[in-house]
Structures are given as structure tokens and as C-alpha cells.
Amino acid sequence: MAVDTAFNMAPVATPFFFYMLSGIMLIGGILVITRKNPVHSALALITVLLAQAAIYLMLYAPFVAGVQIILYAGGIMVLFLFVIMLVNIDRAAKERTFNSQWLVGIVAATALGGLFVAVYTKGNNIFPEHALSVIENDNTQKVATMLYGQYMFAFEIASLLLLVAIIGAVVMAKKRI
Amino acid sequence: MIAKFKSTYGSGIEPLTYAGQNYMVVDRSLIPEILQILRNEEQFDYCVDITAAHYPKREKQFDVIWVLYSFSRNERIRVKTQILDGESVPSSVPIWAAANWLEREVFDMFGIKFDGHPDMKRILLPEGWKGYPLRKDYGILQQDNEWVQINLGIESGQ
């Protein structure tokens, strides 16, 4: 049976794909914040999310990759675009892209960069030497067991939060009537 | 009904009949009052048509005609008034909403203005057209050459 067969296709050119996808993500990320047209920004963001999904796939996490595509690229970003299209883009495009908070932005970026550098230089030992061997086929079941076993409480809390958000949205929308 | 009107308004009203159809010629000054009464008291609640006719040889060049119908009486009546060229008629849009486009068409075709009409502009012909086609002095082949040349980019529409 195909399901039970171990996935024995050897990964090909892993570093190449990793760097390629990372490059795409970085370029996409820069485009997101530099494009004046919000629709272009949103499309760049979609590229980033898709590249991210591909990296998840490389990490033997197909379920997360699939959910990433469905929820972010297919769902949330469509709603983003939906809202962007409803506002007047001609007016938005004329306004200055960068506002006065760029100082805060630089501080935050420096802090984050510092953190990355610190982790890279000092924190090598917190990562395992070799990647854990993950069986791809079990991935979805593993996620399910984790969510509904070990992290049941957190999962339920998250769903409750979402429920509250949905009800809030409905109440706000209903105000009109 | 006609008799009652006659007694109230005297010489301002001339009731007539032709081929079994009643109509009355009303003085221009009595028009608003008569139409109001016809609508409110005599139950002529349906304004069938408003139109006009042009008689260039008369002093009062235009006939304006209201065709009215009463659902409760199943009866038609025409009200007719004569006006001078350039004279306006009170709009009957407040009395019958249907008069809106009908009056616009009369304005479009004859150049008769209706006072108090919410949107007195041409309806069938384009805005900016010169001349009123249904006047007798407007030839059947006549057109607003200037308008045609500017807006359509052709020498003539014929």
C-alpha cells in the first residue's frame, strides 16, 4: 500500500533550494514594504507566504505547508486584497509610503538583527547537531495527537479566542442595520 | 361635472365634445386650479399623456393638452390650454408623478417650459441640441449641423 511505504525519495540539492526560497522570501519581503501600490505589496506578501510553505515542505512538514497555503495564501490574503480593492487606490498611491515612524522601525530592526547575530554566535549548542529523522507520512497524525493531546488546553483557548473574534465581527457589522 | 366647472369659472372654460370624447379648453391662468381639482375632487388620478400642438398662424401659438383618466369613473377627459410662444405652464409633476418625463418630452419637442418641474431638460434629443423638432417651422430634414459636426465628427447625419 502506498500509504505505508516509506518515502524514500532522497532530497535533492537541499541547500540550493533553501537559499533560493530564502532569497525569494527576502526579496518579497522588501517589496512588501517598498511598493507604493498596496495591491503589489499584497501580491509580494503572497509570494513570501508561498515560499515559506515550500520551506515547510523541505522541513518534512507537509501538513503545515498545506495549511499555510490554504489559510494564508488562499484565504487571508484574498480578504486583504478584497479590502484593498474597495478603498481608493489612486489616493493611497499618492501618499508617502514611509511615515515618521521609520526611527522606531530602524531600532526594532537593529534589535532583531542583533538577536539573530547573538543566537548565531553564542547559541549554537541549543540546536541539535543533526536534524531529527522525521517520517513524513506520520506528520499529520503527529500534529493531531499533539494538538488534541498535549496542547489540548491551549488549542481550546485559541479556538475560544477565535470564536470571540467572530462574534465581535458579527456584532460590529450588524450595527449598521 | 363640466356644468359645475362652467358655473364656477364662467368664461375661462369652454367644454367641448368631438366624436363622443369630452374635452375642455381652459384659460392658461386657470390651469393649476383646474388640474388640482380634477385630480383631488373629480378623481382623475391617472395622467395618461401630456402633449402639445403648434399653430404658428395663431397668436397663441401652442396648445398644451392633458389627457386624464379616472379609474373610479372609467372616464377620460382632455384639458387643453392655449399659450403664447415663450410662455410657460405650471408643472403638474406635484399632481401626477407621471408628468415628469411627459413634460420633459414636450419641452424637448416644442420648447414649452414647465414651471416647478424638478429636472427640466431634454429627454430624447441630446443636451445642447438647438431647435425644437415638432414646431411647424422646423423642417423635416432639418438638423443641428453644428451639434452633429462637433459631437459625432461627421459632416451631416443625413
Binding site: - | A53, I123, L124
Partner: protein
């Protein structure tokens, strides 16, 4: 911007509706080239999202000056022109014109001519309603009824073609009666058509009447009350769907209609679905009328004594008939010459179209399509 009138308390068209949250209102130009405006009607829609805040009709793209032409043609010569107004119901136009001129001339068409006129006019009503049904359903997205109705309309057109040689703009009637005696087998063919057509109405109804989507798309869409109908001068099936039992064929019978037994179908809600039902019922009534007319078709001449050169005495006449779209009136002023001094046509489509704004307020874009379809306008008649 909007054709409106504030002073009628129940017709509050003046107050412009504001879009939600000061959102930009979207102005959409529907037509003059648009698949659903049934010709060259241009509708300027002001939208908030998909909700209609108001609309303005721009008409006149098909204006040919029919009334002006009438003043320059003799009474007989003008007869074919009227067919070009409501071209899907050309026979009705002709009937109205011929009867009006006959009244001016103080003649009456002989009984046989009257009966044939009724048959042809009612067939025309069927053809007009079929065309309406097909295009209306097409607008709402049902593409199949169009082909069914065109298939059956073809049979009517064949009868016309055989009778007078033309299919659409027939010029079937003459002032004073008919030009031609009916052809051999006319009665049989009309009867055959009736027995062919009766089950077809059921077929249309089977496709649409209880179709859930059709009902949802048409119920409570474009509601107009009887009061508003009368105020706006709306006549025909639209008025009857609002609950007013008024039909000129009964109210002021012309052309022998008083001899026929038929009902005036009415509905109460005045929405698009009711107008659909009323028209479907009218088709059945028309079939009834034609049946009686064919059964009782009298023998005799088909042309009254009319002078070759018509010079009606000076005077003026307003006469109207119940065209498929509503009251079709002719106001003719004669000055005693061979040409009418003034011809005025009171087109039902033109007056009915005024109600579009009222009927579409607060509805969605998709409903505008349905309402334009349900008003059953013909732009040739609106613009003349």
C-alpha cells in the same frame, strides 16, 4: 441627477441615499451597449457596493422622429411607420392607429375585419409576451427558455408571413379594415397553433414557476404598489400585478372585445414574480380569446367604405388600446387635409420606464436587470 419629484409624500425620490460609512459611491454606466438593457437604454447607476442608491435613464438613442414624420405623410402612408415603434408588437401598434383614424373618419371596420384584427392582435400579444419571457429569463440567467419561446414564436410569425408577407413589422391592418381576405386554411392553422401552444405554456411554467432560484430571484424584487403605479401612469401587466384590475379591453372595449369572454388576471404583491405570473396568465387568456374569435369568425367583407383620398374632418381624437406593454394611445389632430396636423403617440414603454428608478432603489445590481426585464420595454417605442 435623478428624475424625481419631492412633493408626492409617498414617492420620496428626492432625498438622495447616502452610501454606508461615507464610502465612495460607485457610478456605473450600464448601456447603451449592454446585454441586459434590451436595446440602447443607458442607465447610470449610483452604487454603494452592489446596492443601488439611485439611477438615471438616458434615452433617445433610437429617436427617429416618428411624430414629425406623421405630420408629413398622409394618413395611409403613415400606417407602416407605427409598426416600427414597438416592433415586437407591431400589430397592436397598427390596430391602435387604424382605429384612431377610423374614429376621425367616422367609419367602422366590418365585423369580419374586427374579428381577424382581434386574432392577429392577440397572437401578437402572445409573441410579445414570449419574447419578453425569453429575454427576461435570459437576464436572470436561465438561458433555455429563450430558445423554447423563440421556437414557439416562430409559429406565430409563420401565420403572419402567410397572411401578409411580413413577419415582424407586418403592416397587417388598413384604415377601415383589412387589405386582404384571410388565406385558405387560416382558421385551421390558427386552431392548430392554439392546440400546439397550450401545452407549451405549461412547459415554460414547468421550467420557471416553481423553480426555487427563479422564485428567489423574482419574489420581492422591484416592488411597486398600486398607488405608485397609478401616480406614475404605469399600465399594462405591471399595473395588474400590483392589484389593479384594469384592462382597456374590458374598461373601454374596442375592436369587438366586448363580445369575448375572458378574465383579467391580477396579482397583489406587485413584484417581479407577480408580473411574471400575470403575463403567463395573460397568455392563457389570449389563447381563450383567439379560440372564441376563430370559432365565431363571421363571413362578410373585410373593408369598410373608405375614400381613396382620406380627408377626415377637422377635429381631434385620443384613442387608446391595450397593447402588450400597457396603454398605447394615439392623439391625432386633423385639420381637414390629407395629412394629420399632429400625431402624438402615448407609448406605454416610455411611461412605464419612469418607474424604474422607484423600483430599483435599495435593490442590488442584479435586481436592476430583473426589473428592466420585467418592465418589458421596447426601446423603439420609448424613443420613437
Amino acid at each position: 441627477m435623478i428624475d424625481s419629484n419631492s412633493s408626492l409624500s409617498h414617492l420620496d425620490l428626492e432625498t438622495p441615499e447616502k452610501p454606508f460609512l461615507d464610502a465612495n459611491e460607485l457610478v456605473i454606466n450600464m448601456g447603451p451597449q449592454h446585454p441586459a438593457t434590451h436595446g440602447v437604454l443607458r442607465v447610470i447607476l449610483r452604487l454603494d457596493g452592489e446596492k443601488v442608491l439611485g439611477l438615471e435613464c438616458v434615452i433617445g438613442y433610437l429617436h427617429r422622429g416618428v411624430e414629425k414624420i406623421g405630420e408629413h405623410r398622409t394618413y395611409t402612408m403613415f400606417n407602416p411607420y407605427v409598426d416600427r415603434m414597438d416592433y415586437v408588437a407591431a400589430v397592436s401598434n397598427g390596430l391602435g392607429y387604424c382605429e384612431t383614424v377610423e374614429k376621425l373618419l367616422h367609419v367602422e371596420a366590418p365585423p369580419r375585419a374586427q374579428y381577424v384584427r382581434v386574432i392577429l392582435t392577440e397572437l401578437n400579444r402572445l409573441a410579445s409576451h414570449q419574447l419578453w419571457l425569453g429575454t427576461h429569463a435570459l437576464d436572470i440567467g436561465a438561458i433555455t427558455p429563450l430558445f423554447y419561446t423563440f421556437r414557439d414564436r416562430e409559429e406565430i410569425l409563420k401565420i403572419y408571413e402567410k397572411y401578409c408577407g411580413a413577419r415582424l413589422t407586418t403592416h397587417a391592418f388598413r384604415i377601415g379594415g383589412l387589405q386582404y381576405e384571410t388565406y385558405n386554411g387560416f382558421e385551421r392553422e390558427v386552431k392548430n397553433f392554439l392546440s400546439f401552444f397550450r401545452p407549451k405554456i405549461d412547459e415554460y411554467e414547468e421550467l420557471l414557476t416553481t423553480n426555487r432560484i427563479w422564485v428567489e430571484r423574482t419574489k420581492n424584487v422591484g416592488i411597486i404598489s398600486a398607488k405608485d403605479c397609478i401616480a406614475l401612469g404605469v399600465t399594462g401587466p405591471v399595473l395588474r400585478a400590483s392589484g389593479v384590475k384594469w384592462d382597456l379591453r374590458k374598461a373601454q372595449p374596442y375592436a369587438n372585445y366586448k363580445n369575448f369572454d375572458f378574465d383579467i388576471p391580477t396579482c397583489q404583491n406587485g413584484d417581479t414574480y407577480d408580473r411574471y405570473l400575470v403575463r403567463m396568465a395573460e397568455m392563457r387568456q389570449s389563447v381563450r380569446i383567439i379560440e372564441q374569435a376563430v370559432e365565431g369568425l363571421p363571413e362578410g367583407p373585410v373593408m369598410a367604405k373608405v375614400p381613396k383620398v382620406m380627408k377626415p374632418p377637422a377635429g381631434e381624437i385620443y384613442h387608446s388600446i391595450e397593447a402588450p406593454k400597457g396603454e398605447l394611445g394615439y392623439f391625432i389632430v386633423s385639420d381637414g387635409s390629407t395629412q394629420p396636423y399632429r400625431v402624438r403617440v402615448r407609448p406605454p414603454s416610455f411611461v412605464n420606464l419612469q418607474a424604474l428608478d422607484l423600483m430599483c432603489r435599495g435593490q442590488l445590481v442584479a435586481d436592476v436587470i430583473a426589473v428592466i426585464g420585467t418592465l418589458d420595454i421596447v426601446l423603439g417605442e420609448v424613443d420613437r
